[in-house]
Amino acid sequence: MTLKVEQGNEFTIIHIQNDSVDATSAKEISGIKDRMNQTTIMDFGPVMFINSAGISALLKLVIEARKQGKKLYAVNVTAHHRKVFEMVDMLRYMPIAKMEDLLPLIKA
């Protein structure tokens, strides 16, 4: 299992547990669209590598979240992945935040 999902009443935290978000993990990411909550947080903690297959899966997820009126945030993103997310316009849909800044949202 490459994802660990933590679910609350109003929030979902998706902890990516692989070091790579690529074609292999893309299928699993696509499978969590029905588990998103009003506030959904993607935790990229151990992720060292993301390629276009992984980005496509993430983009499909964040666009689905937007269609459902849900807010998606990314936490623990490396500087390189921030750059790549900017290149593909990902941040328009999934802003990068600090976990401590999101705590009021998930405790509300």
Partner: protein, 180 residues
Amino acid sequence: MTSKQGIDESIITPAFNDIDIQIPSDIVFERVVRESAVFVAKYLGFDEERVADLQLAVSEAVTNAIEHGNNSDINIKAGVKFFVKNGQLAVQVSDLGHWVDATAKVETAGDNLDIEERLERNFTRGMGIFLIEKLVDNIEVKSSSQGTEFTMWFNLNKNSQSQSPISFNIELQKAEQNLN
């Protein structure tokens, strides 16, 4: 000190000889090349950001070769060659596919990326090329009915802070010509 070719010869490059890797065309083996690219980039003294850039660009090129060039046929090998020439690291990825419209594919890859539209079209190959275009210094494509050689060039005397415009050299060979 600069040579006639415009190469800064004051840059000391570690001794390097060509590295050739052949992988079966199954996406699980893409990682073999990706990890090799990290090793080569670190060996040649790339900074952390450039190592990550090279790793991603190589991953995208190899994924294209496996999935589109060789149709994920595990019996066909995708080739990857690392070599240093004229102050640049080249990563040459070869497959059996033929880019009928290579010029259009590369030149339009970065055009106003409308991500939602691309996703609706399932245009992930375009995203891969778009990323490569952003991350490398030069791209060279040679394609014929015999196969495709896609070469990415990375300047050795460059760090992640100094960005320069990319250039392309695309050559569509006649069907009867061999890549070699």
